[in-house]
């Protein structure tokens, strides 16, 4: 039986796959395979790839990269909580808060909902930090 934290980690990994799809499908439509299948040299593209995307797709691109960062830190938190046998109601709640925040982050970024994007980002960040601190002091 997987712990709640590991279940959430799996779901967060699948969320990243979903985010990749959300970004790459419109990006390929907008840029065309001539650019996306190329080695993406600046000389060939005429600048950076992100600059040539539509506003919404560029936001989804930034949201994807932001989740890579958040996911690495969250993975570490899940690992130390699990292997340190520090799992409790608080760490399980934090894991679910992290996932909920990262799901909400995508539309918040895509639709430019300010300051909600920053607030849900912070909720996920804080939940991860609490998990790390719990593992350390349990």
């Amino acid at each position: 039986m997987m712990s709640a934290e590991l279940t959430v980690l799996t779901l967060a990994g699948l969320l990243q796959v979903l985010q990749f799809g959300l970004m790459s499908v419109p990006a390929n439509v907008e840029l065309g395979p001539g650019k996306t299948l190329s080695p993406r040299d600046r000389s060939r593209l005429g600048g950076s790839l992100e600059d040539q995307l539509s506003e919404r797709t560029a936001r989804l691109y930034r949201a994807l990269n932001n989740h890579f960062e958040g996911l690495i830190l969250f993975t570490l938190a899940v690992v130390v909580v699990t292997l340190g046998e520090a799992s409790n109601t608080l760490t399980q709640a934090c894991a679910w808060i992290y996932l909920a925040a990262r799901i909400a982050y995508i539309p918040a970024y895509a639709f430019g909902l300010s300051p909600w994007r920053s607030l849900v980002w912070f909720a996920g960040f804080l939940a991860t930090t609490v998990m790390l601190l719990t593992a350390l002091f349990s």
Partner: protein, 130 residues
């Protein structure tokens, strides 16, 4: 219970958290809270120390992605020894030195600290796979 290497992994996670907070504070000062809360469509870039903290953060995340699996391999194989503990301690110390040496632009020391962390991580892989 925590093995000591796992404590170091947890501490390193908190160091990355601290790096991120420092980077965000610098970006707030230069780019403004209004811009940070917006969708950042303009692609404004920071300069000076705030930009160095941005690069330090990106580098710290890369180091974390490399260090964490090495510790996990050792944990899963019961491979912790005094040598692996020393490597993990060197890694953490090097990364603690790396951050201010990047922020304040101490050429030489930053690269030295980076190398210390990098080769300590590589050593953990060799020990884990041996």
């Amino acid at each position: 219970m925590f093995g000591d290497e796992l404590t170091i992994l947890g501490l390193y996670g908190l160091l990355v958290v601290a790096t991120l907070l420092a980077q965000a504070t610098g970006a707030m000062g230069q780019l403004g809270m209004g811009y940070l809360l917006s969708s950042r469509d303009e692609g404004r870039t920071a300069a000076g120390m705030a930009a160095r903290l941005e690069r330090a953060l990106a580098n710290s995340v890369t180091a974390m992605a490399l260090f964490a699996p090495a510790v996990l391999i050792l944990e899963a194989r019961d491979g912790f020894t005094p040598l692996t503990l020393a490597c993990a301690q060197i890694f953490l110390l090097a990364r603690v030195v790396y951050l201010p040496s990047y922020a304040f632009g101490v050429t030489g020391l930053r690269s030295l600290a980076w190398s210390g962390g990098f080769f300590a991580t590589v050593a953990l892989y060799f020990i884990g796979l041996a």
